[in-house]
Amino acid sequence: MTRRLVVLAAGLAEPSSTRLLADQLADAVRAQVSSRGEDVSVDVLELRELAHDLATTMTSGGVPTPALSRARDLVSAADGMVAVTPVFSASYSGLFKMFVDALDPDALNGMPVLVAATAGTARHSLVLDHALRPLFTYLRAVVVPTGVFAATEDFGDAGLEERIRRAAAELAALLVGGSGGVGGFAPDLATRPRRSGSELPEPPAFESLLRGHAG
């Protein structure tokens, strides 16, 4: 079975060190999944391309543009995610947060997520644990233990590659592993189903709504 990985890259520059890190992470995840004898397909979402769509959606009462709808569907259909943002003012970028805000609250239920960030200075390295980890925990995602932070100086350092490999291995284990339990005997941690927000929930039958109200 081919696993589906979605990569969020919130870099604004061209070329972008955020995109560079995102690609390295995606390649490492692919290698780690392959080494387990499995296959993975990768979709990269450049959030920069959705900036206009996000602004339109936010200012028109939440009506998603077609491009944003496609992105939301892609995210919720994925088996795992790599999320990479540049650090702006000690946190994830506004564009990154706008995209996350446009997701359904049930979009990431139980999804394994690898968090990563780029910045000009190592002084921002705690952004992963102060900003990204709580954000994805709130969304009921499963954040892998190793986050990957890359300051400009790290791109010339062998330590970054090691961290990328370790984080990718952790994500790959969750992507390939599943719950490991026997169906019906082990609790399914992702019982709350994911929703992209594009589909309507089925309403309860009206008699059950009417119960107690029919006087």
Partner: protein, 382 residues
């Protein structure tokens, strides 16, 4: 198929002059809009009910009664009646009164309103929004269908041997639409009773409207009221027209850019692509509107929003003229051409409901449950 106008009744400054109409002027302009709607041969005028500025229409039956006195054929409707915060007893009486005064030219649309704070203003709790809509509407159905009602529910004082007056005209309750933008429970409610479902459709992308209508149709069939494509569907739409697309955009753009709902946000072009808003020539409006049936199926009522965002009254009246003269005649013909014979062309009217007789499903409080009961009794005596 019925065509008409639904007014929001917002009091908004005209961005090109900076002038804000008085509430009196706005109410007067809505009346003129209704009269023009009849004059140009459209079928329906509907007004919303809101209790928060900048909206002026808080009392639809008063206004519609005034309009009824000055019109002959126009169907009077609402584009919403608040089923959550109004007392269902008062709704039953107010609209039955209006039905008598207008000789049956009334239907109404249930809704839950456009703002959360309205609940406490009328002594209700917003967390009960859906349960209030469920209980109040069920009581309303009984009040319109049973001469003497004894009832006890969760949200209002019990009724002991109560009779609502006047009884509906000819003993036949008005047809009801349920309007909802995003609550599947309300589509389900409309389907359960075999009532109409209206999607306001403005401000929303077609994929969303399509899913809501499809849900209603599917459940309408499941509850045994007919085939899914025979369900009674109404849609909104929003247009601004001129001789050329460029001219329409030139005139409408300042109003769009400063409108309370979408102003200072997406561009006119983006919003037109995203939602059914059509700013252009009458031909473009015709083409776009005909396209609605491609994604919701053949439907029975189309209402247009034309008076909002501070547009001057004379401009709005001219829009209705264009609709009546150039757009709707073509739409009537084209919609009729594409509609299969088994799909109703019109929603039920007072005349058609009276003709269907007192034994028809419309007169049952809970058609689904009562039909099941009749079947069970028939089965046991067989």
């Amino acid at each position: 198929m019925q065509f008409g106008i639904f007014s929001v009744g917002d009091v908004t400054p005209d961005p090109t002059t900076g002038r804000t109409p008085t509430e009196g002027e706005r109410i007067e302009s809505m009346t003129r809009l209704a009269l023009k709607t009849e004059e140009v041969g459209l079928d329906v005028f509907a007004t919303g009910e809101h209790h928060n500025p900048p909206f002026v229409p808080s009392s639809p039956t008063t206004h519609l009664g005034f309009i009824a006195a000055q019109t002959e054929k126009l169907l009077l409707s609402t584009s919403t009646t608040l089923i959550t915060t109004n007392d269902p007893v008062k709704i039953a009486e107010d609209y039955a009164m209006l039905q008598h005064l207008s000789r049956g030219r009334v239907d109404l649309m249930m809704g839950r309103g456009n703002t959360g704070p309205v609940y406490p203003w009328f002594g209700k709790d917003i967390r009960d929004g859906i349960p209030l809509a469920v209980e109040n509407y069920h009581l309303l159905r009984r009040l319109w269908r049973e001469r003497v009602v004894t009832w006890e529910g969760t949200y209002r004082t019990p009724l002991q041997g109560f009779t609502a007056t006047p009884a509906p005209l000819d003993g036949t309750p008005p047809f009801v639409w349920h309007g909802s933008i995003r609550s599947p429970e309300i589509a389900e409610q409309a389907a359960y009773y075999g009532d109409g479902f209206f999607h306001n459709h403005i401000f929303w992308n077609k994929e969303h409207t399509q899913q809501m209508v499809a849900l209603y149709r599917r459940r309408f069939e499941a509850y045994g009221h007919g085939a899914a494509d025979q369900a009674i569907v109404g849609l909104g739409g929003q247009v601004f027209m001129a001789d050329t697309e460029a001219e329409a955009k030139r005139v409408f753009r300042p109003y769009f850019d400063n409108a309370p709902v979408y102003g200072h946000g997406p561009s006119l072009e983006d919003f037109s692509e995203l939602t059914p808003l059509t700013v252009g020539t009458p031909e473009q409006v015709i083409e776009r509107t005909l396209g609605f049936a491609d994604y919701v199926g053949d439907y029975q009522r189309q209402l247009f929003l034309v008076d909002h965002a501070g547009l001057p009254t004379d401009v709005v009246l001219e829009q209705v003229e264009i609709l009546g003269r150039e757009v709707v005649p073509v739409l009537r013909e084209e919609f009729a051409r594409r509609r299969p014979a088994h799909v109703p062309s019109d929603p039920p009217t007072h005349a058609s409901l009276v003709a269907a007789g007192p034994e028809s499903e419309h007169h049952l409080v809970a058609p689904v449950a009562e039909r099941a009961q009749v079947d069970a009794v028939a089965g046991s005596t067989r």
